[in-house]
Amino acid sequence: MEETLQTIQSIPLEHYIWFCATLFVIGVIGVLIRRNAIIILMSVELMLNAVNLLLAAFSVHHGDPSGQVFVFFIMAVAAAEVAVGLAIIVMIYRNTGSVDINIMNKLKW
């Protein structure tokens, strides 16, 4: 158990923050530059995973298991979100024959 502690301590928390920030920003850029609705959903997954990893890192470094429970809940919500989102995308594809977000502007006023 001692060496596990040392292993975890050997990587500073800052490095996790930089890494997760980079991953999150890559997800944001993916949402901004792609027009395929499925790829946009995948970029959202990327952002969720960056935040998950940061929550887990903070939880481990502070010795508080609540953070990892939160990660578990985020995963459950993400699974539900993906199921409903993909169902909606399949229906849009059936009605319009495309997954281009530029034609999904019917909710614009």
Binding site: T7, Q9, I29, N36, A87
Partner: protein, 165 residues
């Protein structure tokens, strides 16, 4: 020493494949690169001794969710030819605003005082036993709500996806 080089290798792998996800023209390649990213993140969880999260990440994300994505891509028969593209200047604007967001994040977090090192002497908090105790003692109500949420999502997506809706 080995841990650190493993950390940097996994970080590099995750960032590289995440970039490949948003750059790849073929959506199927994007899904496969995203699976690679998830495996790198699973490696990070193992490095953090969060074994429960590592297993759940492989099963739920790399297993279930990515299969769902791949299934929908195959169902809709999307490939590189049908891929809609944004004009170059919008892509450039997206990359620039994303870079600015990264700058803001780094600038905001650079001055934060992080507590040095681990404040506990209990590295086993990520094991299934401990997490189960926390989950079923403190977080029992959210846990049950999550199960209701999953049921609702399942019923909802079946209703949405029905052919003769």
């Amino acid at each position: 020493m080995l841990t650190q080089s493993l950390f940097y290798f996994l970080s590099f792998l995750a960032v590289f494949s995440a970039l490949a996800v948003i750059i790849a023209k073929n959506p199927v390649h994007s899904v496969l690169y995203l699976v690679l990213t998830f495996f790198a993140i699973t490696g990070h969880y193992i490095l953090l001794n969060a074994q429960f999260l590592a297993i759940v990440n492989v099963i739920v994300y790399a297993g279930a969710i990515m299969v769902l994505f791949l299934f929908v891509l195959m169902l809709l028969n999307l490939n590189a030819e049908t891929e809609p593209q944004k004009p170059l200047y919008i892509k450039l604007a997206g990359v620039i605003s994303g870079g600015l967001l990264l700058l803001v994040l780094i600038g905001a977090l650079k001055t934060v005082d992080l507590p040095a090192g681990v404040t506990t002497n209990e590295p086993g908090i990520g094991l299934v036993e401990n997490l189960g105790m926390v989950l079923f003692n403190e977080f029992l109500l959210p846990f049950e709500l999550a199960s209701v949420l999953l049921l609702t999502a399942m019923v909802g997506s079946v209703l949405i996806g029905r052919k003769e809706a």
